[in-house]
């Protein structure tokens, strides 16, 4: 069960952690992704705050927190292989959050 933000991020809750990624629509719109700007483990962000960015050849798009939390893990594979987000945006998460509050999922779209 994935939740989607208006800014095209998805979030999936598993074992108390929140996996966050980019929607298929956004990955297609951006075109070939060339770089993912990842936050650092330990960084804390509020809901709707920008935590990173995705770059294609001609565009750069910020990534926004679907819910508040602390960065528990970043998908380091994306550092050398940003194209993974084009190949499978649903399988390749970007960051994992801890310290989350599930009630913040309320206003997101369930798909």
């Amino acid at each position: 069960m994935r939740y989607y933000t208006k800014t095209e991020e998805w979030v999936l809750i598993k074992d108390g952690l929140a996996y966050v990624g980019l929607s298929e629509y956004a990955a297609n719109e951006l075109g070939d992704i060339v770089f993912v700007d990842l936050p650092r483990v330990g960084d804390r962000f509020k809901k709707e705050e920008s935590f990173g960015a995705v770059e294609s050849v001609k565009a750069a798009s910020d990534l926004y927190m679907p819910i508040s939390g602390e960065v528990y893990e970043v998908n380091e594979l994306l550092e050398d292989n940003p194209e993974l987000l084009n190949e499978d945006p649903l399988k390749n998460y970007i960051i994992v959050l801890t310290g989350i509050k599930e009630e913040e999922l309320k206003d997101l779209i369930l798909k």
Binding site: D32, V34, F35, E55, V57, K58, P82
Partner: protein, 482 residues
Amino acid sequence: MRYDKIIFEISNEGQIGHDLYTKTNNLSKLPKNLKRSTRVNLPEVSEPMVVRHYTNLSNKNFGVDTGFYPLGSCTMKYNPKINEEMASLVHFAASHPLAPESANQGSLELMYETDLLLRDITGMDYFSLAPFAGAHGELLGLWIIKEYHRFRKDYKRNKIIIPDSAHGTNPASAAVAGFEILEVKSNADGTVNVDDLKTLLSDEVAGIMLTNPNTLGIFEKDILTISKLIHDCGGLLYYDGANLNALLGQGKPAHMGFDIVHLNVHKTLSAPHGGGGPGAGPVGVVKELFDFLPSPIVRKKGNKYQFYNPKKSVGKIGRFYGNFQVIAKTNAYIKTLGNENLSKVGGLAVLNANYIRKSLENEYKVAINDICMHEVVFDGLVDKSTGIKTLDVAKRLLDYGVHPPTVYFPLIVPEALMVEPTETESKETLDHFINVMKQISVEAKETPELLKEAPHHTLVRRLDEVSAARNPILKFDDIKEE
């Protein structure tokens, strides 16, 4: 045979291109711990080979001297060669920036004189010639706006209004200057929506950045209303001079209410673009802002020229005084044209642009259906059923020996093609361009693959920009053996 070498590939150990000779080895006295441990790896090439290499590289380029170069908002007009000669006069080339003023009266006079000429052209009261480029001028202008409000102890003013049609440097400059940006919407005709503007006004607005004509090549008809609104709410008006060419002889920014103006002399005033610089972005201000100009400016005392540091100056924005030789070229251009010709520039440039607009309106969708200024924006082909995009049209133009117009800007026109012919293009050149564009629109229907895979006749064809960004090779030593 096509020349295809990088300089390091023609390097040959022991070859030299210099004529320095010495038998001494005094550098050996410099302590070892301060010295390089290995010899610097620079190419070893003889003089004739260096000349041949760079001459061949120049043959892979296209300039205004080569052909029609209708880059919208770049004003690619003819770059007079007499200006090059004047800027490189030996007395200017040998002028040390830190020599006493009495030794540099010529350089100082040239700067002062250029200040006066630019004041006349724009109606502004004082100019600083220090900014190295338009974007640098923008940054300076925004800093001046900050200082102006700080000095009035009005610390709330941290917002700048920018139209959604603006060039990317405008919001970037505002962000670097430490402002928050408020975007104002455009009307269907591309001009600033005054009603939307009114909703953004408050005592937190430091000012507005505008270009006129705007990025769609349309004159801001409400400019006097806009300037009154901004001034009434306590803000300042900043003019991005990128499009000034349309207005030469038709109106001055100062009389539209602008408080700060930057010029792109490598656009409007014929200084060459140089492949991306050096340009210059002189900034003009109304007298109330004079004290904030960067240090130093040049003034005249009696019959002597001297440097002066304005009392509340924002400080130094470059190590010396700006791109002096570029300023010299600007000065030469203005004198060459004089009153009678400079005042005709706007009219001729605008006529050329409208001629293109009218001649192509059946094949290309004119973005704004009205008289345009010095540039015309098309929103791709009229017939979208072919699936041909602006990018394909641009790449196909290369096969016809024409430099494509600006593409995909402004952002509010999805398939934008921005054509700026300038006043130094003949009707013959425009007719050729028009015929080529018409031919391409026919090809779009009959042989679309030709366009999708264009260019075909250039030295290199479409380049893989994705892998260039994913796996950057940014220096010769990054190239892996294949």
